[in-house]
């Protein structure tokens, strides 16, 4: 068996293990899917009227709440990715503290499969959560006007964002010494859509925050999704999104792998 086929076979085995875990311990999966949905409902029904009126009526309708559903959904999609990342770092960290990882390390298996199993499992869960979120958003008035090609592009953007955040969270999970810290460290990721264009246009923010909001990675990704799903200008956002996601994925992958290959005694 070549190194490559071994890596693929072992990753598939580890993925099956992850999916079994998700099935045995559904609270975490429900949490990933549930929290963004609660935020969606909260923002649309509690703040939606006021925030929608303040959007400046891009469509000129002054539609308040119904216009705000369209505005906020791409931001909530990213929140779902961040929420998935949090559960990944917790489950990776929990795994690292268990004896079974020591067993895996003394077996002749592809080392990276212990991490890729987590990444693949997490991708499936997060993409599933995003699907559920889109269904709920649809039910409460989200009306994208994307054609099939734009839909495929939008799904690709969601996927590459999830891949990037998942590898980042795998690194955080290996780096943190306790599951408690692994659940705290990724928390800022959840807040990033707020400090970007996820909930309100960046124009309405004070100078310093506005600069941060415009240059942080979530903003171009949200703008790209918005452009693809609802129409409107994308501009350089697409290229920026690809660069951010590619960069985060690469750096996180190298970081996580290096941490994982260290002597476990130095953890």
């Amino acid at each position: 068996m070549t190194t490559m086929t071994r890596a693929v076979t072992d990753s598939a085995t580890m993925l099956r293990r992850q999916l079994r875990h998700a099935q045995r311990y559904p609270a975490l999966s429900v949490g990933i899917a549930g929290l963004p949905i609660i935020f969606l409902l909260l923002f649309v029904y509690v703040f939606g009227g006021a925030l929608g009126a303040g959007l400046g009526g891009a469509g000129g309708t002054g539609g308040g709440r119904s216009e705000y559903v369209n505005y906020v959904t791409p931001g909530i999609i990213l929140m779902t990715a961040a929420s998935g990342a949090l559960s990944t770092s917790v489950s990776v960290c929990t795994d690292m503290t268990e004896g079974i990882i020591a067993r895996f390390r003394t077996m002749a298996i592809a080392r990276v499969s212990m991490l890729t199993g987590h990444v693949l499992g997490s991708l499936i869960q997060t993409m599933g959560s995003m699907t559920i979120l889109l269904v709920v958003a649809f039910a409460i008035g989200f009306r994208p006007n994307a054609n099939p090609v734009e839909w495929i592009a939008a799904i690709a953007v969601m996927l590459m964002t999830t891949v990037a955040l998942t590898w980042l969270s795998v690194g955080i999970g290996v780096w943190c010494k306790t599951p408690e810290s692994a659940s705290n460290v990724p928390l800022p990721l959840q807040l990033m859509p707020f400090m970007g264009s996820g909930f309100v246009p960046t124009d309405s923010m004070p100078a310093g925050l506005k600069t941060f909001a415009e240059y942080q990675p979530f903003t171009p990704i949200i703008e790209t999704l918005r452009g693809l799903l609802l129409g409107g200008p994308i501009g350089s956002s697409a290229v920026q999104s690809i660069a951010w996601c590619g960069g985060i994925t690469l750096v996180s992958y190298i970081w996580a792998k290096r941490l994982f290959n260290r002597d476990p005694s130095t953890r």
Binding site: M1, R6, T9, D10, T13, R16, R17, R20, H21, R24, Y25, E98, G99, I100, A102, R103, F104, R105, T106, M107, A108, I109, D263, P264, S265
Partner: protein, 313 residues
């Protein structure tokens, strides 16, 4: 130390390991022939687990020429991993999977194939008396069941060399005996075993050779018989109803009466039948409330051997 031969399962020359300033293993030499049981004895913190972790490729050594199953640990760790199995003192099972799923996970990672993997899992469940619990989550297993599952998982890949790190620590006596039987069965099948334990009787029951590890060095090495000859400390404990009986018994044995009105007398003895018969003969029909034989335990071994070492310095 004999030179390394092709029939060595494990060969170690000059192993050193330290964590920061703390020297954990300080120049270990070791040769374990194939198909034998080697037992590493030592108190907590002696470096037993570190040694298992190094020889099982989990952590690196600072210095030393180490070969396991004929492969160099530093340059061919994957070849070593293919030949060994490890069962640590902390159960290395997936608690969110059932016993059977844990075994199938191992079979899949050994690329046994679907049908063969399931067959092997069921065979091991049968052999380790886990058939009734196969569908239960491992998290709900008792301590003894967890250790059995742990060892069963180690055996899925049919390793030629097995590391058992304190396999019976924390087990009740019955589970301990079951574990010993299982280990004897493995040895009969030609497997080499590297066993660490805190219990002298366990090493005595199972091992061909024993080494005592203390502060990162071997302070004694040999067969169980050789080692026992090094260790005095066995005694017979006599308990009496009143100090008068004790005084009479002490006189009969030619011993000094202990101070302070004690009711017990410790008589040095190797615990053999002739020695005990002789002792009883000398006591005649003196009234004795309680008579018990104490064989040396690991405490005696360590106190004696580390004491000798201090004297030699």
């Amino acid at each position: 130390m004999p030179p390394s031969t092709p029939h060595s399962a494990i060969s170690v020359i000059g192993l050193h390991k330290s964590y920061g300033d703390h020297l954990v293993l300080d120049g270990i030499d070791l040769e374990i022939p194939e198909g034998t049981v080697f037992s590493l004895l030592g108190p907590n913190g002696a470096g037993k687990t570190t040694m298992v972790q190094i020889l099982s490729t989990l952590i690196g050594a600072d210095a030393g020429e180490l070969r396991v199953a004929g492969h160099d640990l530093a340059t061919e760790p994957d070849a070593v991993r293919g030949a060994i199995g490890v069962t640590g003192q902390y159960s290395a099972v997936d608690k969110l999977l059932t016993g059977r799923e844990n075994l199938i996970l191992m079979a899949d990672l050994h690329h046994l194939g679907r049908a063969e993997g399931r067959r092997r899992a069921d065979e091991l469940l049968e052999r380790f008396d886990l058939v009734d619990a196969r569908g239960k989550l491992a998290g709900a297993y008792s301590g003894g069941m967890l250790r059995r599952l742990d060892l069963a998982m180690t055996l899925v890949g049919r390793p030629r060399i097995i590391f058992l790190d304190e396999p019976t620590t924390g087990l009740d006596p019955r589970s301990r005996r079951t574990m010993w039987q299982i280990i004897r069965g493995l040895v009969a099948g030609g497997v080499t075993i590297f066993l660490t334990t805190q219990y002298l009787d366990e090493a005595d029951q199972l091992a061909d050779r024993i080494a005592l590890l203390d502060h990162g060095r071997f302070i004694a090495e040999g067969t169980p018989e050789e080692l026992k000859r090094l260790i005095p400390g066995g005694h017979v404990l006599l308990r009496f109803e009143d100090p008068g009986d004790l005084r009479k018994a002490a006189d009969a044995l030619g011993m000094r009466t202990p101070d302070g009105g004690a009711l017990t007398l410790q008589v040095p003895s190797d615990g053999t039948v002739p020695a005990l018969r002789d002792l009883l003969d000398r006591l005649g029909d003196q009234p004795i409330a309680e008579f018990s034989v104490h064989t040396p335990d690991l405490d005696d071994v360590f106190l004696t051997l580390t004491g000798q070492k201090e004297l030699q310095r």
